[in-house]
């Protein structure tokens, strides 16, 4: 092996190790989710730590303050929201359906039978099925919270712990990563990282704030309309709003269904649908232009495929993470190609 080849092999070795670690992370799903979530949170909260640093705090103290603030917020929200969510889930689990709702469901069943009789529909027992479905949702959620409580506690400790170090030592980690890159590709890597950081940072922070605002608006709207389980449904709508195209529809369906079952009239779904439509308009024309500084444009087909793959691999969390992860790879490719063209690599 000549000295030049040896030098290149030596320089490329750390990169191969980093690639191996990345592939390993991808295969051990749970750990990868924890790392990705911690990284995302650190990324979203970095400007807050930076702002505190600009006011004269050391980086460590700024990060400690941010983590403490976040912990207080989560614990405070937990104290307020958890009893409400539990209460609403218990009501959901009991499977109780009002008399009016039972009548409405029976009416729907009769109407379906008369209008779609040619399809040979027999006894559908819609009421029984809906009760069964409601009970099973509640049961699943309870069993998830109880059986996975250990995993939730572990995540509750590991995610803030990892986030703390990503926030505190993120710059040094990036510097150490860049130091492994061979001299010829060093400036290119630095350039690419900076562009990715700017684009992804704006995108992720924007999406996070948008989900918070949409969730809060949904909770208020559903509360005003007197829809049951409004906290639960509002949080769901906020999270679903993170998923383009599918999310807004997925957010309105359960709320409309709960409104119908609660009042017993099909018409009660109308104000819910109108409210969600209005919220989506406010979100698209007022909130998004303010909070999402730069959007990472993605083709609808790409988004849908990414959501399906994310759901297949990691469930609901995978669906939520699919869009930012795809956005990340899109930015890497787009910026990578445009930056690569500026350098005369041979």
């Amino acid at each position: 092996m000549n000295p030049s080849t040896a030098r290149h092999s030596r320089e490329l070795m750390p990169l191969l190790v980093a690639l191996f670690v990345a592939i390993l992370l991808l295969f051990i799903g749970g750990a990868a989710q924890t790392v990705i979530l911690s990284l995302l949170l650190a990324y979203i909260l970095d400007p807050l730590a930076t702002a505190l640093e600009a006011r004269g705090m050391s980086r460590t103290l700024a990060v400690v303050v941010v983590v403490l603030l976040l912990s207080c917020l989560v614990v405070g929200a937990g104290f307020i929201l958890v009893p409400v969510i539990f209460e609403q889930m218990q009501a959901l689990q009991s499977g109780s359906t009002t008399e009016q709702a039972s009548l409405a469901i029976k009416e729907i069943e009769v109407s379906l039978k008369s209008q779609l009789g040619f399809l040979g529909l027999g006894d559908m027992d819609l009421l029984g099925r809906i009760r069964e479905f409601k009970t099973s949702i509640g049961e699943r959620m309870f069993s998830f919270l109880l059986s996975d409580s250990l995993s939730l506690i572990i995540h509750g400790v590991t995610i803030p712990f990892m986030m703390f170090f990503f926030l505190k030592d993120g710059r040094e980690m990036k510097k150490a990563l860049v130091s492994m890159v061979p001299n010829r590709y060093f400036e290119f890597t630095l350039d690419l990282l900076y562009k990715m950081d700017t684009q992804m940072g704006n995108y992720l922070r924007g999406q996070f704030i948008d989900a918070l605002v949409f969730g809060a608006m949904s909770i208020i709207a559903l509360w005003i309309l007197g829809v049951n389980y409004f906290v639960f449904l509002g949080i769901f709508a906020g999270l679903a709003n993170l998923i383009p195209y599918v999310g807004p529809i997925a957010g309105v369906i359960p709320a409309a269904a709960v409104a119908i079952l609660g009042s017993g009239s099909l018409g009660s779904a109308v104000p819910v649908i109108v409210a969600y439509f209005a919220l989506k308009l406010i979100d698209d024309f007022v909130v998004v232009p303010y909070v999402v500084a730069s959007s990472v444009e993605m083709h609808p087909v790409l988004v849908l495929v990414a959501i399906m793959i994310g759901g297949e691999l990691f469930g609901i969390l995978g669906m939520l993470l699919a869009v930012p992860v795809t956005g990340f790879f899109k930015v890497v490719l787009k910026e990578g190609i445009s930056t690569y063209r500026k350098y005369r690599f041979t």
Binding site: R7, T50, E53, A54, R171, E172, K175, V178, S179, N183, R184, F186, E187, L190, D191, L193, Y194, D197, T339, K342, Y343, R344
Partner: protein
């Protein structure tokens, strides 16, 4: 305590490296007169690179991202297709500082002539520093602007001198310098 840290963590070696780095930074006009705290803060953004003889450090026409300081070793500055040598750089010399403010392509190629240890300070890090510590960031920007201003004045002086020489040679009216 220090001995224990030196044995266990290699603390002393790191400490000596930091002192050497600060001594080099202090000699660079951009960082001249900076306090030890400011130099220590700056250290966190400095990238250390090593180049072998004949390895290209920066290439003409490629994007300029920041400045380089030659910690040790020798390098040459080349320009044009024929790679005409403009100057020779040695310990403590620096180049590419304009790229801290401007993203225009590099105006020359720099090639290592001996084994070189180089320190890099980049625009993205300067922007980050300006967000975290605006006063310190602006201090660096003003120093870079002053150096560029000095160079412009020298360039103007050279244009004037050349203009006078041209005038004497051709007996024509003087041309206004840029």
């Amino acid at each position: 305590m220090t001995d224990f840290r030196a044995r266990v963590f290699g603390y002393r070696r790191k400490h000596k490296q930091d002192e050497a780095l600060r001594a080099i930074l202090e000699r660079i006009p951009i960082f001249e007169g900076f306090s030890q705290r400011e130099l220590a803060a700056l250290e966190r953004f400095i990238h250390r690179r090593e180049y072998l003889p004949e390895e290209v450090i920066i290439r003409q026409d490629e994007p300029g991202l920041g400045m380089y300081i030659l910690q040790s070793g020798e390098a040459v500055v080349l320009t044009g297709r024929d790679e005409v040598q403009l100057s020779r750089l040695s310990d403590g010399d620096f180049f590419g500082e304009v790229s801290l403010l401007d993203e225009t392509p590099r105006s020359a190629t720099v090639v290592a002539k001996t084994h070189c240890q180089i320190l890099g300070f980049f625009q993205s890090d300067l922007f980050g520093l300006m967000e975290r510590d605006p006063r310190f960031g602006v201090k660096i920007v003003i120093r870079v602007a002053k150096i560029i201003g000095d160079r412009l004045r020298k360039a103007n002086q050279q244009v004037l001198t050349l203009n006078e020489q041209l005038l004497q040679a051709t007996h024509k009216s003087p041309v206004t310098p840029p």
